[in-house]
Symmetry: C2
């Protein structure tokens, strides 16, 4: 029991910043400097959290995000208060969405880009949305250890977004996390996702710029990419364009540039760019950032940037209204009982969907 | 006042099939054989309508559709009864969606195809969904006079679908109209629309086969086509491939075939086909029908056909639930009052969408 003290209920953190570690041995709690679990200290007040965020304190930021992600009633009220406070003086940033299949090298690319930007005085927040973890219970994106160098930087903040619950739920928490990161002075916010479910559309709906990361394939590179994802992108990076792959990458670049002629651009007035990158050799990273800067300048000049943000916020509200209405409908006991029966009858062609809906509404409104 | 009699309230149709015409002169109603308006005769009962439909009576079918389209409470109950009856013995058909810009020659193509199919013993129903008419109050698709020859055929039935009201409303009525047409022995149902709003997605969600009609352009044919529409199509017809256009049409065909390699097919196991047609010279029409037959055979063999229909019916129910919930939410007086204020605050960045939604829900649930 060296370095350890038996638990004493009078323990209190000395100041708001202190945390202490404990170890549980046979049901008894001991204070410990090596223990893996922490006793949560008295929670900071809303004011303490807001000033911590303003002071760019990453620990406080992390706690604020945890509060927002919590589903407890007490935390929801607190989360709302925090968000209302930070909105009085929101931060400025460019929000960048990045998607691509597992193995496309997104994390390495983000790390290269992030380290470069930090050198130039930026502060980078990386939020990952991993819809696979709620489906398969295993995570495709893994955790922050994938961006080891970046995670050691003072001016970087890496955080996975919880993917449990409804799509609206994911979006809500990630969007609010963006707001908190901006208030904490992060001026480049990267939202990373993989091509599963509706995640690209969700991410596109919360970013200014959307990047699709691909690797050079065998001539039909768009195969396997979900319908419409290319049309969401403001830029495509053909990654791993190094060594033997370099030639293939250039062919892929030409193919995509050609295919893009047939598609509407994702952003009004902007022509979707295709570039090659090697995250490992760190080539093409500077060029990619220049594309993003050019995009920002152009869309701010034309007003498309600001218009999209306003539109995204209103759309978000509308989608959340839908989600909340649907959630409460499908959680209704009578609806739950009747639904499978009607679904079956519909599939058998025994009842028209219109009539089924009328019946569901009858029981719901009772 | 030759051939005319002053209105007499005792007038009754001699039998269920009789209608008589009237003319209004200075506010007085006269019986007339040339008049343009009809006094509605006593309405048929549900049984009369259902047996009329089964007997392939187009007048009765038209009346049944009018009943379904009516928003009066009395007609809704009747519509439901009619639909429930016909579902006991539904018809079989292939449902074909056709979209394309105004001027692409959809109507002429449908007429050519329809006349050909009637010769081969088919019965064709053409339903048009024209979302433009509710937006601009002018119709892009025009009326049935566009398909003059086809409309004179005993085995053809042409009907515009009303586009007023919500998207769900359009879809609901058109879908139920399909059911009625099938019960009336129409075995090829064509749903025609133009590329406005969400109409292609709506139509795709109610058909087995979806055809995009294009005209050869200047090399970048997909420009102007809405995002993702090409990816909804099971076939693309490059129409007006005649005279000077023939060469251009063949180039367009090659371009599209190439572009399609980069897209996921709209139907599992089916490779989207591109063909050239000339509705005027009636070339390529037979080939197009063969593509549809091949599609039907293949998807019925693999079960994709039946699976899609079941899925469409369930999706339809789910979408209608959403529509009904949203309609009742946004029709709420308190929500209506609060919404514009909150929308404005959201756009100004003064309030988060999440908080706005909480406020809206509070007033709605009161």
């Amino acid at each position: 029991m060296n370095k350890q003290q038996r638990y004493n209920p009078d323990w209190q953190p000395k100041d708001a910043g202190e945390e202490f570690a404990v170890k549980v041995v046979k049901g008894e709690v001991y204070k410990s400097s090596n223990a893996q679990r922490y006793i949560p200290k008295n929670e900071e007040s809303v004011d303490e959290i807001v000033s911590g965020i303003r002071a760019k304190n990453r620990n406080i930021l992390a706690k604020a995000i945890t509060t927002i992600e919590s589903s407890s009633e007490k935390h929801r009220a607190k989360a709302r208060a925090i968000l209302e406070s930070v909105l009085n003086n929101p931060g400025e940033s460019i929000r960048i969405g990045i998607t691509g299949m597992p193995g496309a090298g997104k994390s390495t690319l983000i790390e290269s880009l992030g380290l470069k930007l930090i050198q130039n005085g930026h502060r980078i927040a990386v939020l990952t949305i991993d819809p696979s973890s709620s489906i398969s219970k295993g995570s495709i994106l893994g955790d922050k250890t994938r961006m080891e160098k970046l995670s050691r930087e003072e001016n970087a903040f890496i955080r996975p977004s919880p993917s449990s619950g409804t799509l609206g739920g994911v979006a809500r928490k990630t969007r609010e996390t963006i707001t908190l990161c901006e208030a904490a002075g992060f001026d480049v916010i990267i939202i990373e996702t993989v091509g599963v479910g509706q995640s690209e559309i969700t991410v596109r709906s919360m970013v200014d710029f959307f990047l699709l990361v691909l690797i050079p394939g065998a001539g039909d590179e768009l195969q396997g990419i979900k319908k419409g994802v290319v049309e969401l992108a403001d830029a495509i990076a053909i990654n791993k364009a190094d060594g033997e792959n370099e030639k293939k990458a250039n062919i892929a670049k030409a193919d995509y540039s050609n295919a893009l002629h047939y598609l509407m651009p994702a952003t009004k007035g902007w022509e979707t760019k295709v570039s090659t990158t090697s995250a490992i050799y760190e080539t093409g990273i500077e060029e990619l950032w220049n594309v993003i800067l050019e995009f920002e300048r152009l869309t701010k000049d034309t007003g498309v940037f600001y218009h999209r943000r306003k539109q995204q916020a209103v759309d978000w509200m509308n989608r959340m209204v839908e989600d909340v209405l649907k959630e409460s409908f499908f959680a209704n006991k009578s609806v739950k009982d009747l639904l499978p029966i009607l679904k079956n009858q519909i599939q058998e062609g025994k009842i028209l969907p219109t009539v089924a809906v009328e019946k569901l509404m009858e029981v719901y409104r009772k």
